[in-house]
């Protein structure tokens, strides 16, 4: 981290953010640099277009959803603290250096991570993944090779698998259970999503 600690002063409420998110000062600084880089028009807030400018995201089949996850409902912009708060979901478990003694669950807990993923599906935020919502995600991810009918069947089957209370939708509890019952061998991702500091070292 080449920059001096004085850069920290630019970050609003740096201390609080570190407390809240568990990021270290170095992390925060790096994220702030990234934030400023993305914030092309220097408004101190990111708009969806700013995210859209990231090349890789355009190729991401569910990029739109992920972008919209940064914006709280009804809002058009995201400021730095919110930006960091969202990213904090992706801090690895087990390295909670600065857990503020409160009883609040850390933002990078397993549940919170799953909640984040859940909300990617649950676009209408009714706490349930309906068949239609699942279908939308599937459609985005499976591309054109699979016909609509096949998608329907897959969605239906997927819901059947997870749907414990038979309401034809996946609630968050059910969603969580799916991931608990059988941790998939090949994807450490949900256990340990991304270490935001990996590239920043």
């Amino acid at each position: 981290m080449g920059s001096s600690s004085s850069s920290m002063d630019h970050i609003p409420n740096a201390e609080e953010l570190m407390q809240e998110t568990g990021f270290s000062a170095a992390h925060l600084l790096r994220l702030y640099e990234r934030f400023e880089f993305l914030d092309k028009d220097q408004t101190g807030e990111l708009r969806p277009e700013d995210f859209g400018a990231i090349g890789g995201l355009a190729l991401n089949p569910i990029g739109d959803r992920i972008i919209s996850a940064f914006f709280s409902p009804g809002q058009e912009t995201v400021d730095f603290p919110s930006f960091v708060r969202v990213l904090a979901h992706f801090r690895p478990n087990g390295t909670n250096r600065t857990r503020n003694g409160t009883q609040q669950e850390p933002v990078n807990s397993r549940t919170r991570k799953l909640k984040f993923a859940f909300q990617l599906y649950d676009q209408d935020r009714d706490g349930k993944i309906s068949r239609a919502e699942l279908l939308q995600v599937l459609r985005a991810m499976l591309g054109i090779q699979v016909t609509e009918e096949q998608l329907q069947s897959i969605a239906e089957r997927a819901i059947q698998e997870a749907d414990l209370d038979r309401d034809d939708a996946i609630s968050f509890d059910e969603f969580k259970k799916v991931q608990q019952v059988s941790p998939h061998p090949q994807t450490p991702t949900k256990e340990t999503p991304l270490h935001p500091t990996e590239g920043g070292r």
Partner: protein, 830 residues
């Protein structure tokens, strides 16, 4: 072996007669020519013996639960060796390096590469490489130096071994042996990461071992005084050349195999052969260029697995998988048996307590030190640190095996005076690690509560979620602007998808594969198995017809995914007797029966199987119309397609009611249409159709021609998925599925038919409807929208077909006696 031997006998007899015609007095009726067949005969015998040994050992599961099979095989080798020694007073059969490296090892490694869990392997590549390269060098150097130090200290008496020889010995002992690791770890089921770390290390350290061995071998030949910095640098360079050259060569061969399987459509019967031959060639080529042969064949397998599995026919893939397993398992058995036999040879045994015990000790200690140190470094960078217990198991799993023994035997006696001591020590180390550590591994794993491999239930939702997670992580890396593991993987996937798949995969398969989709496919496969197993349990497959559950499955999946999952039905009808076993089979969708359909489009026949079940229901109703359809018209396809269509529509309301009753799930809003399959391309396959005709000649009901429907059909294009071309030997031997044996006799009206009639209020279909509905595709087309709409429309449709059937039934003679239980029928037909 009998066949070739008899042939050659004939040949030689002929030669004898012409060449020395005068020297024999009479024509020999038989002659005994042992020497003529000796070598192949012995080889075959040994293979048989090894196989029998394995059979005997595996017969006692409570023994193999405690003592691993590899250890038992070695012990069995001791006994055999003792017998041979007792008979010959000399050990005639030992494991020679040539046999081991050229004939036994390659298939094991190819198998390892081909079945490599790629994502896991490359995900942990960094750690594996660190262990394989640094770990192995550390093992070699520390062992060599420590032994030399102890020698100097006088711990092992008078030995003629110099520092370089010690290092050479260290380098051959350093490598963890893939064969031993597979054999022991396969029975322990530790968690995947731990397994891949040990296993990957054992595979990849070959490059290091080869280099170290060659370099030190050269150094020993050169003698200490000749070695200078240049030579050492050369050695280091040669490491990179050997390791990367070998890997690259394997990669190239992998691409070659993949490319080749793109165009083997017409020679499907031998396409599995290419994998083995090219894999072997990759091994031999690397050996020829003095590159790492093991790395070469590993990467050949790793690279080609995805593409050949996609390119080749399902049956060929099964063949490859099974043959791979047969060869690898056979070789493994042979290796362990011969490792045992080799020990019973007085001439190689030189005992030096100090040397042997110190070697054992150092191997253990330095393995632990090396693993813990490297893990400590790695854990600073790993997202998921390797736990302490896993490290213990990793260290303890540093098994040495036949590779070390093979290298030891290859030592040059002239240069290394104590070669036999080294061989003996190697053998002791191998026995110790394989037998002792192998036996104690399981209790240790249990005692330390090592995280085991979770038996994961494959679920679709999970797969979908994992996909989502992957995408999310990549996106977050994008957003936070860092280049991490996920980013790299995404980039690679993109490249792979765009270029490699394009180049190496058939265009047709490229479209139809997707991870989520393949899970879906596998789940369906499992369903099919359990349905059949259920049928087994009840003694017949009758329930399939009586319970709409099956049809539900059938309609939903069989129809829509006739492209993707032909093998489900193939399996079911092939031999449902084995189906329950297959459910547990690690290799799903296995059908090893080749029958005679080999050269023709296998996909096609599989599709037939897919749809066979449904047809049974349909033909019943056709009997009265039989005369209308000319038998000479062999273009069965279209009619059957339509029949399928109607039937499915008929069944839908049952299915939905069933589903909501049983699964608590509302019916799907939209109903399947047609899979996009080009049926036209199958049409010209007149030959197979002809054959099918003769096959079914006893049952005219199976022959239809579309008659009036043909014209209407043409307009509808190539949308009907239900191609029905009957072919002999396509897996429809199962009598349960044979129409003439059909247990659902005409008079027994299947429940759904009765229901259908009730539903529709006994609507008597008009004659016109009877004729037209089932057969004119134009009708079908027109009615298609109904299917997507309300059920009431369907029930109208329902009324017709069943009623028709009903009437047929009445005309028909009383039912034949109920079918014998499936097992009997199987026996008769298989």
């Amino acid at each position: 072996p009998r066949y070739p031997s008899r042939q050659s006998q004939n040949r030689t007899r002929m030669g004898l007669n012409t060449g020395h015609g005068s020297s024999i007095k009479e024509v020999p009726i038989v002659t005994f020519k042992w020497h003529h067949v000796e070598t192949p005969y012995l080889i075959a015998l040994w293979i048989l013996v090894a196989g029998l040994a394995k059979m005997v050992i595996e017969a006692n599961h409570h023994v193999t639960n405690v003592i691993p099979e590899s250890a038992l095989l070695i012990c069995f080798g001791f006994i055999l060796g003792g017998m041979v020694w007792g008979a010959d007073k000399v050990q005639t059969f030992t494991l020679t390096p040539t046999v081991f490296f050229f004939y036994l090892l390659p298939q094991i490694i190819l198998d390892a590469g081909y079945f490599m869990p790629n994502k896991l392997f490359f995900g942990n590549m960094g750690a594996i490489l660190i262990y394989a390269i640094i770990g192995t060098c550390w093992n070699a150097a520390s062992l060599g130096l420590s032994l030399w130090g102890c020698h100097k200290g006088g711990a092992m008496g008078d030995l003629d071994i110099g520092l370089l020889q010690y290092l050479l010995f260290g380098s051959l002992m350093a490598a963890v042996d893939p064969v031993a690791v597979i054999a022991v770890f396969e029975q322990v089921h530790v968690n995947e990461v731990l397994f891949i770390l040990v296993f990957g290390e054992s595979l990849l350290n070959d490059g290091v071992t080869v280099v170290l061995f060659n370099v030190f071998d050269a150094f020993v030949s050169l003698g200490g005084s000749q070695i200078d910095a240049v030579e050492i640098i050369k050695g280091i360079i040669s490491f990179f050349v050997v390791a990367f050259g070998g890997s690259l060569l394997g990669f190239v061969f992998g691409l070659l195999v993949s490319l080749l399987t793109r165009c083997t459509k017409n020679i499907q019967i031998i396409e599995p052969g290419f994998i083995f031959v090219l894999g072997y060639l990759a091994y031999l080529t690397a050996e020829m260029l003095s590159l790492s042969a093991i790395l070469s064949i590993v990467f050949c397998g790793v690279c080609c697995q995805k593409y050949i599995n996609a390119n080749m026919d399902e049956k060929s893939v099964s063949t490859v998988r099974y043959t791979m397993k047969v060869l690898a398992n056979g070789s493994e058995t042979m290796i362990f048996v011969f490792l045992g036999i080799s020990a019973i040879d007085k001439t190689i045994w030189v005992w030096n307590t100090g040397f042997i015990l110190l070697t054992l000790l150092f191997i253990m200690v330095y393995r632990f030190i090396g693993v813990f140190f490297l893990t400590w470094i790695l854990n600073r960078y790993r997202l998921v640190p390797i736990g302490f217990i896993d490290q213990v198991i990793m260290s303890y799993g540093g098994l040495r095996g036949a590779v070390a023994y093979g290298l030891a035997v290859m030592l040059d006696e002239n240069k290394i005076k104590e070669k036999n001591l080294m061989i003996s020590t190697t053998l002791i180390v191998v026995y110790f690690t394989v037998i002792f550590q192998g036996i104690t591994m399981k209790p240790l794993v249990t005692w330390l509560k090592v995280k085991r491999a979770a038996v994961t239930e494959l679920t679709l939702i999970e797969k979908v979620q994992n996909k989502v997670f992957d995408h999310v992580l990549v996106a977050i890396e994008d957003i936070s602007g860092q280049i991490g593991h996920n980013y790299m993987r995404d980039k690679w996937n993109y490249f792979e998808e765009k270029w490699m798949s394009w180049a190496l995969m058939k265009p047709s398969v490229r479209k139809s594969r997707d991870h989520v989709f393949s899970v879906f496919h596998q789940l369906n496969l499992k369903d099919a198995m359990s349905y059949v197993a259920e049928g087994e349990r009840r003694g017949s497959l009758e329930f399939i017809r009586n319970e709409s559950a099956f049809i539900d499955f059938k309609k939903k999946f069989g129809d829509e995914f006739s492209e993707a999952m032909p093998d489900i039905m193939a399996n079911m009808s092939d031999d449902h007797g084995a189906a329950s076993d297959r459910r547990r089979d690690p290799v799903p969708s296995v059908s090893l029966e080749m029958h005679e359909q080999t050269m023709k489009g296998m996909r096609e026949t599989e599709d037939i199987n897919t749809h066979h079940l449904l047809q049974q229901h349909l033909y019943k109703g056709r009997k009265q119309h039989r005369h209308r359809y000319s038998r000479s018209h062999f273009d069965v396809n279209k009619d059957e397609n339509e029949v399928q269509e109607i039937f499915q529509r008929t069944m839908r309301s049952r299915l939905e009611s069933f589903k909501s009753a049983k699964m608590g799930v509302a019916p799907p809003k939209t109903i399947s249409k047609y899979s996009k399959k080009d049926q036209q391309q199958k049409m010209p396959n007149g030959k197979s159709l002809d054959r099918s005709k003769s096959y079914y000649s006893g049952d005219e009901d199976f022959e239809f021609s579309e008659g009036d429907s043909a014209s209407g059909y043409d307009a509808s294009g190539s949308t009907f998925p239900m191609r029905v071309t009957y072919r002999a030997g396509a897996g429809i031997e199962n009598p349960a599925f044979m129409p003439d044996m059909d247990p659902m006799t005409p008079i027994q009206i299947p429940p759904w038919l009765m229901e259908a009639e009730l539903d529709s209020g006994m609507v008597a279909p008009s004659q016109r409807a009877q004729v037209r509905l089932p057969w004119t595709p134009s009708n079908l087309r027109r009615l298609a929208p109904f299917r997507a709409s309300a059920q009431s429309n369907d029930s109208f449709m329902l009324a017709d077909a069943p009623a028709t059937q009903q009437r047929d039934d009445e005309e028909l003679p009383p039912p034949p006696s109920p079918p014998p239980p499936p097992s009997n029928r199987d026996g008769g037909y298989m």
